[in-house]
Amino acid sequence: MNHTHADNERRELLEQIRAIEFMTIDLNLYLNTHPNDRRALNEYNYYTRQLQALRKEYEMRYGPLTNFGYSLSQYPWAWINEPWPWEEDHYMEGC
């Protein structure tokens, strides 16, 4: 199955979001048991800001990343646009 250029660009941006968000996840768990670690906290805020910018860029190009009022949608309602996460890269024919 061939991916279009636009599709590759979308997945690349998503991969960046994934990596930055992963830093916020690991730092968040660490901060829960180290609430006074100022350096970890600064890094958490640093990656959170970066994540917000990347999300905004993604959503302007490809539609909402989050539901329930966390992202704006173009017309028509873009939340339901495919692919859903479990379908990424998977367009094989069944039997």
Binding site: L29, N32, M92
Partner: protein, 190 residues
């Protein structure tokens, strides 16, 4: 309240269907040491945690486990998608197929449906945290068994990620255990 983010925490891109591997992996979806059990365990136990650090850790790891539940579900989905009944029969997965077709259902590989009997919520924070530490170790061991059973790098890659997360969670639960113990001791004397 939870908000859905339309992406997997770790990507799943399995090119070749493999119902036999799906049968092995599905235990981490709906089995005793699986991600659903982990999530429900922590999200249920959090109500009785005595200190904010412990509430935060159980809440957030419980949430991350839901993302892992989704990763495992995506793996099973992709491993089953496009598999023909003949292949499913060869993979000894006919009994599952009879009940669920190629669908994703929370059960073990032998068809035992998910049950809350896999988890406990004891109301005793020390006891609950020890269960959580054990749960992370059991899940790690399961992922190691699954890695041993797998030979497709597309399958092994997310399994490795999930296994490493168990180690990080274990560390956090260990730190929480210490904090809860200190807290309970301080209450004893003052």
């Amino acid at each position: 309240m939870w908000v859905y983010e339309k992406k997997l925490q770790y990507p799943v891109r399995i090119k070749n269907p493999n119902p036999k591997m799906a049968k092995y992996i599905i235990t981490q979806y709906g089995g005793p040491d699986g991600e659903l059990a982990a999530s429900l365990r922590y999200l249920s136990q959090r109500y009785h945690m005595p200190i904010p650090e412990a509430k935060g850790v159980l809440n957030d790891i419980g949430t991350e486990e839901l993302a892992h539940f989704e990763i495992v579900g995506a793996m099973v989905y992709q491993l089953m998608k496009g598999a023909c009944p003949e292949e499913i029969k060869m993979a000894d997965m006919g009994t599952y197929y009879a009940d669920h077709d190629n669908a994703v259902y929370p059960s073990t590989g032998t068809g035992v449906p998910f049950t809350a009997a896999y988890i406990q919520s004891k109301g005793d924070p020390i006891a609950d945290l020890h269960e959580d530490l054990a749960a992370e170790q059991k899940a790690r061991a399961t992922y190691e068994n699954l890695i041993k059973l797998a030979d497709d790098p597309d399958v092994i890659d997310p399994l490795r990620f999930l296994r490493e997360r168990e180690i990080v969670h274990f560390q956090r639960f260990g730190e929480v255990l210490q904090k809860v113990r200190e807290y309970m001791e301080s209450k004893k004397y003052f």
